[in-house]
């Protein structure tokens, strides 16, 4: 057990910190959240800056154009970027954290050469077409059909909860190529151009009032067979490989941000007098313990991931990733609920940053596997309890 950084890791941190402090003041002002083209441009410019400085695809394998950094270096990056107030990954989320890693592991050399460099340089944006109106937690029941017609698939169906759809160039699409095969058998993974004829994007308004995601309607969209990653009908495995790429450190930067918010919240309560309320103080103290522990868990997960990489581990998600997701999503909601208590009536002002965060935090226990699904995964795969229904 050792939490001290090696000399190499310290050097990495120092160089990164210097670069962040030099670079961040040169960034343009953040665009309005409602202006999607401006958001895309801003996020892509940041990605380009990372690329030029050698920080793009930090945790991607080197042979896929990444930097091959260790999980610890990645964790340091997330922490330093957050502490310096660097932009979030934003519109490049799917490209950098999901579609890209999938292609890096499962794509052919030609596919990697076509798709990965533009993601790293911030030139092409990806979105995700997995969930459907009738296939949410039970993703494997999805019904969007892809019928082979010569050298293309003809895709018909609908997808939902697709973030950044309006500004994306590509969509990683999970489709059914064999309608006779049940469940997760008979699915394939396709890369679809968002400007292909037959693709319709209909933005969805979230409960926070903003347009953060969209529905996709696919009407006989032609997708070249060459844009299938992995074998036909092997799309479920291809997708799962990527899910295991995330090893429980993805939200580590957000944990750093939450700890800072918590400290600000304590100061706000001190100023408005609510700090005198022991119940509120203790609630904030408990959140301090939780976020500190989550950061420690991220360090634990990074260490496990580093070990797995060194020993050629199979990348099965460990205990840590599910536990982290389950506790973090809940803690974030609890943080902004506590914020409303600290703010008092001002928390009912929807223009307050913390009120907006309180609203958006409600998605955390739903997106990327609901808390209920996380608990199923823990119970069945980690604790070995019999399969439920």
């Amino acid at each position: 057990m050792d939490l001290t950084l090696t000399r190499e890791e310290e050097d990495f941190r120092r160089r990164l910190r210097d670069w962040l402090h030099r670079t961040l003041p040169t960034l343009p002002p953040k665009p309005s959240p409602a202006d999607w083209p401006a958001r895309r441009a801003y996020d892509c410019a940041w990605q380009r800056a990372l690329y030029d400085a050698g920080y793009a695809g930090l945790h991607w394998p080197a042979d896929a154009g990444g930097r091959g950094a260790t999980p610890t270096q990645h964790l340091i990056f997330l922490e330093e970027a957050e502490l310096a107030g660097a932009p979030y990954v934003g519109a490049n989320f799917v490209g950098l954290l999901h579609a890209g890693p999938t292609i890096a592991v499962e794509g052919t050399a030609a596919q990697q050469a076509r798709w990965l460099p533009p993601v790293l340089r911030g030139e092409e944006v990806w979105c995700q077409g997995f969930s459907e109106p009738e296939a949410g937690s039970d993703l494997a029941s999805l019904r969007t059909r892809a019928v082979r017609d010569g050298d293309a698939y003809v895709v018909t169906g609908s997808k939902t909860w697709t973030s950044h759809a309006e500004v994306a160039d590509w969509c990683e699409l999970l489709v059914r190529t064999d309608p006779s095969a049940p469940g997760h058998r008979g699915l394939s993974w396709l890369a679809m151009r968002m400007d292909a004829p037959g693709v319709t994007v209909r933005p969805l308004r979230t409960l926070a009032g903003s347009m953060e995601f969209a529905e996709l309607f696919l009407d006989e969209v032609r997708v070249p067979v060459a844009q299938r990653v992995g074998a036909e009908n092997d799309g479920w495995r291809v997708t799962m490989v990527t899910l295991s790429f995330e090893r429980g450190t993805a939200f580590a930067g957000e944990v750093v941000a939450c700890r800072r918010t918590l400290a600000l919240l304590a100061r706000a309560a001190k100023e408005n007098g609510r700090w005198e309320d022991a119940a509120l103080r203790r609630r904030l103290g408990r959140l301090n313990a939780e976020f500190t522990a989550l950061w420690r868990l991220a360090q634990w997960n990074a260490s496990e991931a580093a070990h797995a990489l060194r020993t050629g581990g199979n990348g099965v998600p460990g205990v840590g990733a599910s536990v982290f997701k389950l506790r973090y999503s809940h803690a974030r909601q609890e943080l902004y609920d506590a914020a409303s208590e600290a703010l008092g009536p001002l928390s009912l002002d929807a223009s307050h940053e913390w009120t907006l965060e309180r609203l958006s935090s409600l998605s955390y226990t739903i997106a990327a596997g609901t808390s209920q699904i996380q608990q199923n995964i823990i119970a069945e795969r980690i604790l070995g309890l019999p399969r439920g229904r």
Binding site: K270, R282, G285, A289, A293, R296
Partner: protein, 358 residues
């Protein structure tokens, strides 16, 4: 950075587990639980000496002092196993007294403590008591019942394996409140010895005691999770193991999440030793031990409510340990106060300032 256990650490933990399976099997725990509450279950002194011989108390003393020269991370692993087996006794106090009170290191002297909450465990079996309130640490012989122990009143302890005394006027001092100088020695010669003060940092001592108590809670939480999962796999109702029902699965999943959050918290605190880490570790490990015992009890149904099942012993011990060294209220208040003092800083760097942080 490599947070994982080293091979030596894993071996140490496994060795402690094997030893406790052999020397403190379930029958011994049950025997202790069956003792007449009025007689206040005496400590097994032979076992205490054995624990001393294998180095449970002297673990962190230098080899020159007869110890193993190991650190807090190793002590935490040993205490985790003790908690898992519900090994009774003032383990944290005796461990911290090693090198301060003669005979504590090898288990020939049993040292308990009177700490903030006004509780002292196993006072009748102990030879000496550490008094940890105020700016100094003092050791008193238990024998003459004088000094601060004069007003100690025995409780009918809720935990049948942990006799308790209460001192109503004692008051809790936050852990890590003072810092002080080097380690000294507290000779406790015998019943006639008077109170001695030494240049021990009481804040540091309280922090270490809280951490070692948290480690025991972690072990208990992991054990009740195992008991719950084993029961969920074997108990059949409605024609299937109850572990196939989501209501039961989710209960178990949350037990695991509590255990693992507490684990990373406790292990990290043993390395970083910051006040925030230690208070957080105590808080989360207490919660894991108490809540897991409760859930384990619930999952066992009527059986869980019986004296015969072991789960109530875990719950009751967890309640005792929760009150010791840093109560939930104290931990939460300490963590809240830390927020006003600039928590939210860089965490990896904090971890690099190992030792001396408290």
């Amino acid at each position: 950075m490599d947070f994982r256990l080293s091979e030596d650490q894993r071996a140490l933990r496994a060795g402690m587990r094997d030893l406790l399976v052999a020397r403190f099997p379930r029958e011994k725990l049950r025997e202790s639980a069956e003792a007449d509450p009025a007689k206040r279950a005496p400590l097994d002194r032979a076992l205490w000496r054995e624990l001393g011989e294998i180095g449970v108390f002297s673990l962190r003393l230098s080899e020159k002092e007869g110890g193993a020269g190991l650190g807090l991370p190793e002590a935490v692993l040993v205490f985790e196993e003790a908690g898992r087996a519900l090994l009774p006794g003032p383990l944290a106090a005796s461990h911290l007294a090693a090198g301060l009170v003669s005979g504590a290191a090898d288990g020939t002297t049993v040292v308990t403590a009177l700490e903030g909450a006004g509780l002292a465990e196993h006072l009748d079996s102990a030879d000496a008591v550490l008094l940890c309130e105020g700016p100094t640490v003092r050791a008193f012989p238990v024998g003459d019942g004088a000094g601060p122990l004069a007003t100690a009143r025995p409780l009918r302890s809720v935990d049948p394996t942990t006799p308790l005394h209460h001192l109503p006027e004692a008051h809790e001092v936050p852990c890590g409140a003072e810092r002080a100088s080097r380690t000294g020695r507290l000779p406790v010669a015998g019943a006639s010895a008077t109170a001695t003060a030494a240049a021990v940092d009481p804040g540091r001592l309280r922090a270490e005691a809280a951490l070692l108590t948290a480690a025991q809670q972690l072990g208990s939480a992991a054990r009740t999770l195992e008991m719950a999962v084993a029961h969920a796999k074997s108990r059949t109702q409605f024609g299937r193991p109850i572990g196939a029902f989501q209501a039961v699965q989710h209960l178990c999943a949350r037990m695991l999440a509590r255990t693992e959050i507490a684990r990373s918290s406790v292990y990290a605190a043993s390395l970083a030793m910051t006040l925030g880490d230690i208070s957080g570790a105590k808080l989360l490990a207490d919660e894991a031990a108490v809540r897991n015992a409760r859930d384990c009890l619930q999952l066992h149904g009527g059986l869980g409510f019986t004296w015969e099942a072991d789960v109530h012993l875990h719950l009751k011990r967890a309640w005792v340990r929760q009150a010791q060294w840093q109560s939930t209220e104290r931990a939460e208040e300490a963590l809240a106060a830390a927020l006003l003092e600039g928590a939210g800083d860089c965490m990896t760097e904090t971890a690099n300032r190992v030792n001396g942080a408290v």
